[in-house]
Symmetry: C3
Subunit: 257 residues, 3 copies
């Protein structure tokens, strides 16, 4: 397809799903990828993306894309309405491919893109189960793209995929609680003014550079290693201290107010 | 060994264990596989097979075999009596290899096989720990088989392994609870009559095609993406609604009764 | 660097971290390793090393090194004071490389080494985040070492790293609770006299060879498959029976006392 900078082979396939760590889901997706693209390595980025919450997942995904090599193919599945009429889509955004459900998962990426083209995925000759599009539809498409197949061979047809234009550019909501109890927000730290504080559960938090810059047990927010504003407690757990989790709101307010 | 269709090299080694996701068990097994078969990729299918329950694990395993490529070698460890006199076994079933304890784990597969040959595994020159046969005995055998070694080199001697002929062809028991709270049974959906209902915790459940075909919050059963009858709740958790888990029974009854 | 037996390429990179299984940490480390050493396989040994406890983690790590191939590069991150002034270090110990924070994580290994050389790691031209040295500092160093780079290219400068000489040779403390509820201690079984008993939570435990050598439900200790004294219950959970976990003490006493 002319004008589309398909690389000869993707360096990596990156998995971003809410499959959870347990169970047979990720393994079957990897076997499906292997059948088509056996020599492209697969990296597990998130298997615990916000479960069944495409909006929160979308802002989380957007923050982690740059940590993966240029040319990577992202296979993304947070898909509470699998089996319904939501379309299967793909997007070529700034040199990377994204494959998954058309439910807003790529909205912040499209919003921030320098170059983007969007596609619908049509299933191939193999049967597609009603409940596991990750294995039967998205994985084959991602694997063909990773091999450098042209978009037609990959089952892609260019078109305007659903957009979610009422979503904000940054999401003032907790989008992930990590293993240490830190609360990642959908806010890029770079958009928060220096003279602002972050409010979580009614508590005003000031910005720090990192954990060791605040006293033991102190709560603060900082720019995490992927650019998101993240709420943390030095040697403690912010999720327990604030009793907040994925989907809960945060606020940015002026430090003077 | 004549008559045995050993492929030159297995495409994949597939792990099916109850090691759990945590801890050093799977990593050490992978290092043991790597020593012998460094270029055969390893896929984690289940690390959370029914813990210490070979019977439930056996019906779960049988449903997931077809999702893996022909010629794959399955390394299976659900082995509550490791260190006792239960034998170490291998089976060549319809073109795939299965390696593990002789405690019934391969019984449904043998029952449903078109072609099957069974073997005992004898340990090689390396010392075998009393508690970690997965690493010290099964992994080396699986790796040698994956490399296409002949059965003698792999420590295999053909013989009649223990059979569990009192087990049913399909198991009306919950064999797995997935990350979404869905209850997988040991029943293949294809053996359940159209006019039957599934009874779980005293509740009669009708069949649906998939989640989006029932109202939000409704319980139902459906044929999952691997052919098992699975109990689910649209946007909810069946494990919590029914307070049932691995080992609990289900019933198939006529819808007219 | 003369005198240093750098292998041309490491067979494996081994991950030993407290990142947890969830979240984007291990995936980003693997992508960072892949950028520099794409063809060296990576094995996940522990992602759940004792969280933020370098001392317990150190004795656990030491027991698992021999299960990995000679020449492996260990990337080790248990690093509660990341961002502070603790140095980044590497050690060449008996033919393997260890990379991580200079907080004692390699102390038992150094104590037991036949040959050891130690190094400080200096960051390269890429920016290093304040909170994720695993990805930005340790992974690049480990990957360069795995490729067989010389120590200068890898950012290493030989020097005396911090030692923790007040730590014991074996640690009479629980260092890991596994998925089965078994309590691993920091004690090598080989240092415990035959006529000794292990005391946990006030209960005296005798030694057994393995699970099937004691009655159902009985508590005992045994030499686990990596040489550590481990407390277990046949078909039960020692963590629940004794209500003990990581950091809790055990005692070795004479059976006659």
């Amino acid at each position: 397809m002319k004008g589309l900078d398909l690389s000869p082979q993707a360096p990596l396939i990156v998995l971003f799903t809410d499959f959870g760590l347990e169970g047979p889901y990720t393994g079957q997706v990897k076997a499906a990828l292997w059948r088509i693209a056996p020599i492209v390595p697969v990296i597990d980025l998130f298997a615990d993306a916000p479960a069944q919450r495409p909006r929160e997942a979308a802002y989380l995904l957007a923050a982690y894309v740059d940590a993966m090599p240029a040319g990577s193919v992202f296979l993304c599945v947070v898909d509470p309405t699998v089996g319904s009429e939501r379309p299967a889509v793909a997007a070529r955004i700034d040199g990377r491919w994204f494959v998954g459900p058309g439910n807003g998962l790529f909205e912040p990426l499209l919003r921030r893109a320098s170059t983007a083209r969007t596609f619908f995925i049509h299933s191939g000759p193999e049967p597609v189960s009603a409940s596991f599009h990750g294995r039967d539809l998205f994985a084959p498409a991602a694997a063909h793209l990773a091999k450098g197949g042209d978009v037609g061979e990959c089952g892609l047809v260019e078109g305007k995929i659903p957009r979610f234009l009422d979503w904000p550019d940054d999401l003032p909501v907790i989008v992930y609680v990590d293993v240490y109890g830190n609360l990642m927000t959908g806010l890029r730290a770079c958009i928060i003014p220096d003279d602002a504080v972050l409010v979580v559960a009614g508590r005003r938090l000031v910005r720090a550079r990192t954990f060791s810059d605040v006293p033991l047990g102190a709560a603060f927010w900082y720019e995490n290693a992927n650019g998101l504003a993240e709420v943390a407690v030095n040697r403690g757990r912010a999720d327990r201290l604030f009793e907040r989790g994925v989907g809960d709101e945060v606020q940015i307010i002026s430090a003077k107010s």
